[in-house]
Amino acid sequence: MFIAGLDQYLILSAVLFCIGLLGVLTQRNVIKIIMCLEIMLNAVNISLIAFSQYITPITLTGQIFAIFVMVVAAAEVAVGIAIIFAIYRNRESVDIENFNILKW
């Protein structure tokens, strides 16, 4: 039960993912929402690498998926923070309630 196997890694990943989801749903500061998104991406990477270790240990498919998840995460943070700066220059705020420019 307490030996660290695939189930334990997957449950750790699920716990981190749900904490990140809770943060995304409840935070007010947009930068904090991006931080919680990073927590969610890291949780998914943990589960991918655990699958790679326990289910495909020779072909390493899960680790290759994790590399591409990291690439997408880096691009997402760069574009996301650029958008935050652009809106901050316009609205002088990082409050999520002021990010309603697209609403009509």
Binding site: L60, I67, S93
Partner: protein
């Protein structure tokens, strides 16, 4: 022995993830996020993913957290509290339900595990898989184009008119 290390790293990871949400000061939340990234790198090492652990340190601790800290320093802090009424409890219930469903699925799934021992070093097999003939070469090139377009898009969005 390794089990103790795993549970220690898991406890630090979950605690720092909760701290990212709970801590009021956003700069301290960013420092907790860096601690989380480093413990995740330790978990990758436990899973025999040495290259991924180094990339995690380089990309997340080295680049993404610096980007987030610069963003914090260039913006004024928002008001604390909940947006648009009190969404805290519905969000907590939804997250807990999702966690329960995922944990139920994990525990009740019989994974078929091969008996092969894990690879001791992963750099050479990963390189062969990514750049070999029958591998993911097209995906690597698409990822390169996507990174370039992301950089150009970020510059175009943030440029002063």
């Amino acid at each position: 022995m390794l089990d103790i290390v795993f549970y220690l790293l898991a406890a630090i990871a979950v605690a720092s993830a909760i701290a990212v949400i709970v801590v009021r000061d956003i700069f301290r939340a960013a420092l907790c996020l860096i601690l989380l990234f480093m413990t995740v790198a330790g978990i990758y090492l436990l899973l025999h993913a040495d290259f991924l652990a180094i990339v995690q340190i380089l990309v997340y601790v080295g680049a993404i957290s610096i980007l987030i800290i610069v963003a914090i320093m260039l913006t004024r802090d928002a008001r604390q509290g909940q947006p648009l009424g009190n969404l805290k409890w519905p969000a907590a219930i939804v997250s807990a339900l999702l966690l329960g469903v995922i944990a139920f699925g994990i525990i009740n799934t019989a994974f078929t595990m091969p008996d092969n021992p894990p690879l001791q070093e992963t750099v050479k097999p990963l390189g062969k898989a990514l750049f070999g003939d029958s591998g993911y070469l097209l995906t690597v090139e698409i990822a390169a184009v996507m990174l370039l377009s992301a950089i150009i898009g970020a510059i175009a969005v943030i440029r002063e008119k």
